[in-house]
Symmetry: D3
Subunit: 141 residues, 6 copies
């Protein structure tokens, strides 16, 4: 059992955090940082792991484009249920990495086939909130 | 409340089924047809709805590319849990519409962040089975 | 693979929508229409599918009485979790199609055996809200 | 906080078990007893609670007919996912208390709207197995 | 099939309720009683079962310490999703039976591995609320 | 936003893997290594993350004893559903870190209150398999 990679250089915990924070900020913008900040007084280690592991180690890997990762993520958060706060962050992230409003809405329509109407509706109403906050809702001129 | 589209022409139930069957066969190949065939003696109506609605009405819509739909679908099926038979069909479908083995494996690694390790592992072992059946597993020369 | 039914006549998209809207209004009353209306600016297609497919194609089939469909639906929404907005609509619908308050409360008690106490409690508190709004709560004279 | 009922007589643990066993046997037949028997060497207390509480205390309450309880139960087990062994027992139970094959298949078709196609398919294939074992599958003459 | 225990004495429904209420009050304090009280006008039987069965029959069994039961319960409520009200009650209960803030936060960090980041985050923010209400949050001097 | 710890020394990817492998082997024994080995040809990176992150970074933290982590884990895996392979590994792990058969069975009985009977049954039958394989089942002399 061996795992070899080209990048087996030594990193400190802070290095990994800094690397992840750059990714988090690029993808999620202020919303992602706010979640991590709000963990500072209750579980700084969970905040560290979101940044250093989820964004630094996993999200930033080259094997799947950020846009594609967000499509997978929208599918997962819709299917899990009860993850409206994370859908809010990740619908924003989806827009940040280049998915269009139309693609996001279509992905959530597609989710009705696999997750059922209730979860598709819950996710779509989060998209409505996010698009509205960003001035992207066609009906809200 | 009104919904207008360019394609508001009359279709019979059979028309919609035929349209969906063409999509299903294109995306899922024989595996999809086998699922529908195996419903014939227990719930032909469920088979009809999978074909006519899921594939004919939803999947074939132009707003999201088949490759992108499969990324969302892999995320959903991994998150739902207990959907290994559907993951089998849809990992095959993902390959059929142009996702690479590397992208699929990376999407399932990405799912560990949002769904946890157990569901990511379960989905990855379905990918191992599918890739092996298609002769795509690097270790199985 | 063939599916034949007695009703294989041609319908337009609008025909199916109108047919479904009649069912939706009969079952869910204003609450159902409000959900569809609130989708108009974000995902009119999801609104169309809720109406034309969920209510027009599936709900209205003769093989299971509306009252029985609502019992299945209450079970599903309780088990899924995080579907309180849909439970609100469907507890109202359950009353509209003839289930009594006592039967609904008993169904949710029954759900504790299969879904556990937390989900049974969450669903029961939605019933409390709905009954209260309709003046049906015994303790709210 | 007080709860009063007409039946506040003293019962031993064995009384409650015997009462539940009569209900379990009436509803689930041998399949239910087999589940309880298979718990005897690992968790007799879980077996006791299934019998005495789930069937003796809850299932047997008069507020909802057995047929209606099974409709709620089919909805819950389909929605939960991964409960195929329990669906097997409860599709048998549904037939035992008077639901027809057609109503069960229709309930599972209805579940596709709320739980999505994968869970509806998984439950329908359990129904196919059960109907086949009982010689009720139309295509299996 | 027989289940024998040392305590097979006769109890009335009220006896079981009283026994459970003592346990509920000891573990959950006022929060638990409030939940049961709020069920009085909608489903007194569900309130009875929470008290008499969940706390009287199961929680009070000697085979697992209250502290250990709360660890299992925190894991379950985090994994189920959408059970924030119950997490609130049970994070309070965890503190009441001797788990420290640090152990609770660590258990929720641990949950990220198995349930994914979104559910770990949702549960951790409930802990933040509970600790804050009890004056236990380090950052809230 | 800063996270400081006493152990901010530099580690390579291999260092973290080796550290995690020691923990994984101590807790899960051969079963854990087998899971990682079986990932080698499909997703070595997922294997790396299970070892280096889940076991090296999270499991080994001092804030919660291994025995307590396993209680949380049993609760989560039971609640998630469809995670029988992981329950197998972690019921073995629970025994390895000092939980008794009686405590494990009691924890799974306790889970019936929060997850419902079906998931409690599924998990208990995995325990039966594991105990039987280890010669720990009382009825299997």
């Amino acid at each position: 059992m061996s795992v070899t990679t080209a990048t087996d250089h030594a990193e400190t915990r802070s290095d990994r955090f800094e690397r992840g924070l750059e990714v988090l900020t690029r993808i999620d913008g202020e919303a992602g940082r706010k979640v991590v900040d709000s963990l500072a007084d209750i579980s700084p280690e969970l905040g560290h792991q979101v940044v250093a592991w989820a964004f630094g180690d996993i999200y930033d890997r080259p094997g799947l484009a950020p846009r594609d990762r967000q499509l997978v993520t929208l599918g997962m958060l819709t299917a899990l249920g009860g993850c409206e706060p994370q859908l809010d962050v990740h619908i924003n992230a989806a827009l940040n990495v280049g998915l269009t409003c139309e693609e996001i809405v279509e992905a959530l329509l597609h989710s009705a086939v696999y997750c059922g109407m209730p979860k598709a509706l819950n996710a779509t109403f989060v998209a409505k909130k996010v698009f509205s906050e960003r001035g992207l809702l066609p009906g809200k001129k």
